[in-house]
C-alpha cells in the first residue's frame, strides 16, 4: 500500500513540476500564457493568411497579366512598438510559396545591391550572364512595378485599472503605380482584453 502512495506522490510532484518548465515549444497559432494585449505570433500569421487569400482571390489585378508588386513596410500607429515588417514578410512568403508565380514581387529593399551589381557587370569587373545562344545578356532594365502594397496598423486602447483592452486593425491597400487608383483594400482586426494581476494594480 505504501508503495502505491509513494508512486502517486512521485507522479503528482512530477506533474506539478512541469508548471515551471524552463522551455516549451508551442503552437504559434495559439495564444501563449504570457498575457498582454499586443500583437502576437497568431495575429501575424492570421493576418498574413487572410490577406494572401484575399489578394489571390481578386480578379482585377490579374486582368493585365502577371502583376508586379512592390511591398512597402507597414506603418505602425498602435501603442505597441513591434517589428511590423514581420507581417508583410510572412504575407510575401505565403504568396510566393502558394500562388505558383501568379503574383510577382519587385525587391526594392535590395535596390542598391542590384544597382551596384549592374554597374560591375557593365564595367567588366564581373562576368556577365548569357542568354540561350551564349550571347551576353544585359538588356533587362530594372523592373518597374504595377502596384504598391501598403499597410497600416491602428489601435484603440482602453484601461480601467483592472482590465485593459486593445482593438487593432491592420489595413492593406493595393495602389496602381501608374494611375494612383486604389484597386483593392482589405483588413484584419482583433480585440484582446487582459487582466492585470492584483499585485500590479
Amino acid at each position: 500500500m505504501g508503495h502505491v502512495w509513494a508512486k502517486l506522490l512521485l507522479v503528482g510532484l512530477t506533474m506539478l513540476s512541469a508548471c515551471g518548465a524552463p522551455m516549451q515549444r508551442v503552437d504559434p497559432d495559439q495564444d501563449d500564457a504570457l498575457g498582454g494585449t499586443g500583437v502576437d505570433s497568431a495575429d501575424v500569421r492570421a493576418t498574413a493568411d487572410k490577406i494572401a487569400r484575399s489578394i489571390v482571390a481578386m480578379p482585377t489585378i490579374f486582368a493585365r497579366g502577371t502583376p508586379y508588386v512592390v511591398v512597402q513596410d507597414p506603418q505602425n500607429q498602435t501603442r505597441f512598438p513591434i517589428n511590423d515588417s514581420m507581417i508583410v514578410d510572412r504575407l510575401v512568403t505565403l504568396l510566393v510559396q502558394n500562388s505558383a508565380g501568379r503574383v510577382q514581387f519587385v525587391d526594392r529593399a535590395n535596390w542598391e545591391l542590384v544597382q551596384k551589381e549592374r554597374q560591375l557587370k557593365r564595367s567588366g569587373a564581373v562576368s556577365v550572364p548569357t542568354d540561350g545562344s551564349g550571347q551576353p545578356n544585359l538588356a533587362a532594365a530594372p523592373l518597374g512595378t504595377d502596384y504598391f502594397l501598403t499597410s497600416t496598423l491602428k489601435s484603440l486602447s482602453k484601461d480601467n485599472g483592472e482590465l485593459n483592452s486593445d482593438y487593432i486593425v491592420v489595413t492593406f491597400k493595393l495602389t496602381d503605380a501608374e494611375t494612383g487608383a486604389l484597386v483593392w483594400q482589405d483588413d484584419h482586426e482583433w480585440k484582446k482584453v487582459g487582466e492585470k494581476g492584483v499585485i500590479y494594480r
Partner: protein, 402 residues
C-alpha cells in the same frame, strides 16, 4: 511530418518539461514563498543612483550589472537604469535593447500566481518589478526617443502613444495624460508619418498642458528641437506605522537658467514642459494598498495581542502562565513575520523635469552645446555635432545634473 501535418519541431515537448525536477518544484512552490515571508526582498537601485548623480557612471554601471546578473525580479528596473546610462554615452543600440526588453517586462502585468503569493504573504518587494505608471510612461518615452533617433518613426509614435496611454489610463480613466513632452513628440511622430490632422491634435493638447513653454507655441516650426532633462527624479519612500504606505519625495532643485549655444553663439534657453515628480505623485491609490493596509492591521493586532498576553502572563495563576507566555511569544513572532511594508524600489535616474526648446538653424552641421549654470553639469558629451536637415527637424538631447 507528424500529427495533423505539423512537423515534429512544432509539437510541444512535454517530456522536457517533466524533467525540470521535483527539487525545482519544491524550491519554487514552497521554499521561495516561505523565504520571502521570512524577509527576502529585492535590492533597489538607490546606491547606483547615488553613484550616478555623484558623477561615477562606471561605478553605477558596475552596481547595476551585478544586480542584473543576480536578481531576475528587478530586471526591468536595472535595464531602465542602465538605459539612462547608455543614453549618457549616446549608445543608442544598447539603449534600444535595454529599454525594449524593459518595455516587454513592464507591459506584462498579468503576474504569476507564485509572485502574487510571495508579495501577499511576504514582502511586496519580492514581486517582479514592473514599475508605477509614471515609470512605465518614462520607459516608453525613452524608447520612443531612441526609435526616433534610429529613424524608426512609426515605433517612436507607438512608444509616445503608450507613454500617454499608461499615464492616463489607470483608475477608471480618471486621469488624463498631463505629460506635455510625450504629447508633443507624439505630434512630431504623427507629422513625420504624414498624419497632419492627428499631429495638430497632439500639439494642441501639449500646448494646453504647458502654456508657458514657447517650444510648444503655435507657429513655432523651428527645425531644432532640444530636450533637456534636468535634475533628479522623485524618491519613493515608505510611510505609515509599518511602512505600508508610499510617498514620493521631490528633488525640485533646477538651475536658474540653461543656455543653449550653436556654433558658440547663444541659441536660446529651454523651459519646463513636463514634471516627473508631478507624474509620480498624482496617480490614485493602488488596489494592492488595501492588502498592505490589512497586513499592517494584522501586524499591529498580533503585536498588541502578543505584548498583552506576555503582560497578563505575570498576573495569571502558575498553571496558565506557561501557556500565556507561549501564546504571547507566538503572536509576537507572527507579528514579526508579517511583512506589511510597501515596495519602494523605484527608477532612480529619472529627471525631475523635462524642458524643451525649439528654434531654427540653417541646414547643415552645427556644433551644439547645453550650458547649465554654476554648480550644474551635463551628463554626456559637452559638445555635440548636430546635422540640421533641409526639411524636417533634428532632435537634440541632453541631461543636466547638479
Amino acid at each position: 511530418m507528424e500529427e495533423g501535418g505539423r512537423e515534429g519541431r512544432d509539437l510541444p515537448l512535454i517530456t522536457a518539461a517533466m524533467r525540470s525536477g521535483v527539487l525545482g518544484f519544491l524550491r519554487r512552490t514552497v521554499l521561495l514563498p516561505v523565504a520571502c515571508a521570512l524577509g527576502c526582498s529585492a535590492p533597489g537601485t538607490a546606491d547606483a543612483g547615488r553613484a550616478w548623480f555623484a558623477g561615477d557612471s562606471a561605478g553605477a554601471r558596475a552596481l547595476l550589472d551585478a544586480r542584473l546578473a543576480e536578481d531576475p525580479d528587478g530586471r526591468a528596473l536595472y535595464l531602465n537604469e542602465l538605459g539612462v546610462l547608455d543614453l549618457e554615452r549616446r549608445d543608442l543600440a544598447a539603449a534600444e535593447q535595454r529599454f525594449g526588453e524593459a518595455w516587454r517586462l513592464m507591459e506584462s502585468l498579468a503576474g504569476d500566481d507564485l509572485d502574487a503569493v510571495g508579495a501577499i504573504v511576504g514582502s511586496e518587494a519580492s514581486k517582479q518589478w514592473r514599475g508605477d505608471p509614471f515609470e512605465r510612461a518614462m520607459n516608453s518615452w525613452y524608447l520612443g526617443l531612441v526609435y526616433w533617433w534610429r529613424g524608426v518613426h512609426d515605433n517612436a509614435l507607438a512608444c509616445f502613444k503608450n507613454a500617454i496611454f499608461v499615464d492616463s489610463s489607470h483608475g477608471e480613466e480618471r486621469f488624463d495624460c498631463d505629460f506635455a513632452p510625450a504629447l508633443f513628440l507624439e505630434g512630431l511622430a504623427y507629422r513625420r508619418l504624414g498624419e497632419v490632422g492627428m499631429a495638430e491634435r497632439s500639439f494642441a493638447v501639449a500646448r494646453e498642458l504647458a502654456p508657458g513653454c514657447p517650444a510648444l507655441a503655435a507657429g513655432n516650426d523651428g527645425n531644432v528641437i532640444v530636450i533637456v532633462e534636468v535634475g533628479r527624479g522623485p524618491t519613493k519612500v515608505a510611510a505609515g506605522k509599518h511602512g505600508e504606505l508610499t510617498r514620493f519625495v521631490a528633488h525640485p532643485e533646477v538651475p536658474p537658467a540653461i543656455e543653449l549655444l550653436a556654433d558658440g553663439q547663444r541659441f536660446g534657453s529651454p523651459s519646463r514642459a513636463g514634471d516627473v515628480h508631478f507624474q509620480a505623485s498624482t496617480r490614485g491609490g493602488r488596489d494592492f494598498d488595501s492588502i498592505l493596509a490589512t497586513k499592517s492591521g494584522i501586524k499591529t493586532g498580533t503585536e498588541v495581542a502578543g505584548i498583552g498576553a506576555l503582560l497578563l502572563a505575570d498576573d495569571v495563576k502558575d498553571k496558565h502562565q506557561g501557556a500565556m507566555v507561549v501564546a504571547g511569544a507566538a503572536l509576537l513572532l507572527a507579528s514579526f513575520a508579517v511583512r506589511a511594508e510597501a515596495d519602494t524600489r523605484h527608477w532612480t535616474t529619472l529627471p525631475h523635469e523635462v524642458q524643451l526648446f525649439r528654434g531654427t538653424l540653417p541646414p547643415g552641421k552645427h556644433r551644439f552645446e547645453v550650458r547649465p549654470g554654476a554648480g550644474w553639469r551635463v551628463a554626456g558629451p559637452g559638445f555635440e555635432e548636430i546635422e540640421v536637415p533641409a526639411t524636417g527637424e533634428v532632435l537634440v538631447y541632453q541631461r543636466v545634473l547638479r
